[in-house]
């Protein structure tokens, strides 16, 4: 019972997702399954971004970088053994002439993304929170410029095609669950709690012995790994990799999802991605046109983006914490013990008071 209670915030997210995916898998059309798989991959990315942005309070606009690094790395390892020596002639020999099995390829790609996050974090996390936020943009732009011009290795602006497609809705779900569990374990860990303390009050947290630099760097690296996982999934879901899929529009979409759901809790990230994915799909179909009875009804193209930006602004104005307001789902019946241990001193004081009969 106690365990269920403690794991409830995760279970409350994972079980509905499981049911949803089961229903979609059984009854949904192929296009709905596709859209849902994509949404689950976005969820992995959003949770990755949340690990850093949600816990530290610093928004990163640069996480697409790690996604792209992993996607390309996986493409280099697994893609099109026949064409690779011609289209990507600049690759080092062992990559150019070999095809690496999917799982090791995926893992090394995720590792590369995490490594990139760690190295860039070494510099970026030294900055004050606002400067760091802006500088993550520099990261995104550096990646974009390099990858769209490094034609002999990345095929420049062209699309790499012919990656093995193995990401089904269940694979995406498994990855989403892994991401959620990682995020939850992190935010309950010593480093996660320290990170959240710096979010609430930098000065007080520093005064209590928290290192801003190290706690942020750890979060940044971990979120880089998870963003890398999303990148690998995305590459092997689409079967293609193109640099234009990893730029500002996609970044905006994910940030909007996080903000609308509520950036400061894991539940917010999951709720935001789910709701906005549904909304986008509804709007997308509305742009193509519904027919109700004999009436054909369509909204103008591009209104999807306007509506999304509008909702985001309204949320920022009227409900800054997002839909979840920074809360996790909690065990609704017994709220006394939420897994946070009573501080030792407070416990001793309580016991002492009990013994002395003081109220």
């Amino acid at each position: 019972m106690r365990h269920i209670q403690r794991l409830f915030p995760v279970l409350a997210l994972v079980i509905p997702l499981l049911i949803l995916v089961f229903v979609i898998d059984q009854f949904g059309s192929a296009s709905i399954q596709r859209v849902s798989t994509e949404a689950l991959i976005r969820l992995v990315f959003a949770v990755g971004l949340y690990i850093f942005a949600g816990n530290s309070g610093i928004v990163s606009f640069g996480h697409m970088t790690f996604c792209a690094v992993a996607a390309y790395a996986s493409a280099w390892q697994t893609c099109c053994s026949m064409l690779k020596p011609i289209t990507m002639s600049g690759l080092p020999g062992f990559l150019r002439d070999n095809t690496i099995p999917l799982i090791p390829a995926g893992l090394t790609s995720i590792g590369l993304a995490g490594g990139t996050a760690f190295l860039s974090g070494l510099i970026l996390m030294r900055l004050s929170s606002l400067s760091a936020s802006i500088s993550t943009l520099a990261l995104l732009f550096i990646l974009n410029v390099v990858y769209s011009n490094w034609s002999s290795v990345t095929m420049g602006n062209s699309t790499i095609v012919g990656l093995p497609v193995y990401v089904t809705i269940w694979v995406a779900l498994a990855a989403a669950i892994v991401a959620i569990v990682i995020a939850y374990l992190y935010q309950k860990s010593r480093w996660g709690l320290m990170m959240r303390a710096t979010r609430e009050d930098e000065v007080a947290a520093q005064a209590s012995g928290t290192s801003l630099y190290w706690s942020r760097l750890i979060a940044f690296t971990l979120s880089g790994f998870v963003a890398g996982l999303a990148g690998v999934l995305f590459a092997h879901f689409m079967g293609t990799v193109s640099i234009s899929n990893f730029f500002l529009n996609q970044t905006f979409l994910i940030v909007a999802m996080l903000v609308i759901g509520g950036m400061q809790s894991l539940a917010g990230a999951v709720v935001g991605v789910t709701l906005i994915s549904v909304l986008i799909e509804v709007l997308r179909r509305a742009e193509m046109g519904y027919s109700i009875g004999t009436m054909d009804f369509a909204i103008p193209r591009g209104s999807q983006e306007l509506i999304l930006a509008g909702i985001m602004l309204l949320i920022l104005m009227f409900r800054k914490g997002g839909i979840m307001g920074g809360r996790e789902f909690r065990w609704p019946w017994l709220v006394e013990d939420d897994g946070v241990r009573e501080p030792e001193l407070a416990k001793r004081a309580r016991l002492l008071k009990m013994r002395l009969g003081v109220r």
């Binding site: 802006i134 410029v145 011009n149 983006e305």
Partner: protein, 304 residues
């Protein structure tokens, strides 16, 4: 010799442009702690206001058909009104939020404006011709200089000097600087908050409009993302200069502008495409040495 002078003129022209955008961003940041991502879209909207909204690749002129002075006036006025509107509708309700929330909201405003242009004008780049007479080269002391570069440099330097004089000499300018230094204190001493913020936005609108015209004359194309690059450069300029410092923004703008032109001219041919990456890497390296920026202000650390 000729080459060096030309590079120098290019560098000063581009540096002044970035300095202007950075100053606009710095001013708005100073008065309300908002890093305004939408500054780039002010530029884009200004450029698109030259033509009638259609999906055509070579559209008919709207403001572009007016005589030069009227055209400049109309474009600058449009952008200024837009800047004031975004302030009134989007940023004023958020005025007391933390800088991160404001940054995200400006990201949303930017996305909104971009989607709006996309809806009205379509996504393809457009060709447009204004100020053709300016693109011819000018012979100066035996050196051929493109007229556009001279114009850009002239306009940017004039605007910069005017703005500095405005900030230093007029009462409103002094109020603005005071507010940028310490907004609370300035308010206590009788500086009206709404007015200085509106003026800061109006200035960023005027600068946005002017810059959009300079860009269009230079490139002859309209593109949905045309404002993004200069704004991102200006962001880094303000970060390098020390966020919240107006002189820092100008210095930072010149640094990124000059470095960008130098890389463009002296990198080997096959490396030139990576110019922007070089500039951004430099930004990160400068930050490695001076995380607080070149000129440190009280805004660099969060107040207790």
């Amino acid at each position: 010799m000729t080459n060096i002078v030309q590079v120098l003129i290019d560098a000063v022209a581009l540096g002044s442009l970035y300095a202007l955008v950075a100053l606009a961003i710095g001013l708005v940041f100073g008065v309300m702690r908002l890093v305004n991502f939408a500054q780039g879209d002010y530029i884009t909207v200004g450029a698109y206001s030259l033509v009638i909204p259609t999906f055509a690749a070579t559209p008919a002129m709207m403001f572009g058909a007016l005589p030069t002075v009227a055209m400049i006036f109309c474009v600058v006025l449009t952008v200024t009104i837009l800047a004031l509107l975004t302030e009134r509708l989007a940023f004023r309700p958020l005025r007391n939020s933390d800088p991160t929330t404001l940054l995200i909201s400006s990201f949303a405003v930017s996305y909104f404006l971009q989607s709006l242009i996309l809806m009205l004008h379509g996504g393809r780049p457009k060709a447009i011709n204004i100020g053709e007479s300016l693109t011819t080269a000018v012979q100066l002391f035996g050196i051929r200089i493109p007229g556009v570069q001279l114009l850009t440099m002239g306009v940017a330097v004039t605007l910069l000097v005017t703005l500095v004089l405005f900030l230093k000499k007029t009462p409103i300018g002094i109020q603005l600087r005071a507010a940028a230094e310490n907004f609370q204190m300035a308010r206590l001493l009788g500086v009206p908050a709404n007015r200085v913020i509106a003026i800061a936005f109006a200035i960023s609108g005027i600068l946005g409009g002017t810059i959009s015209l300079l860009f269009v004359i230079q490139t002859g194309t309209l593109d949905i993302r045309m404002g993004v690059m200069p704004t991102v450069y200006a962001f880094f300029a303000t970060v390098i200069g020390g966020i919240g410092s107006l002189p820092g923004a100008v210095v930072g703008g010149y640094i990124v502008g000059i470095v960008s032109v130098l890389l463009q001219s002296y990198l080997p041919e096959e490396m030139r495409a990576f110019r922007d990456a070089g500039v951004f890497t430099l930004v990160i390296l400068i930050l490695l040495v001076r995380p607080q920026g070149l000129i440190v202000t009280s805004a660099a650390k969060e107040r207790v």
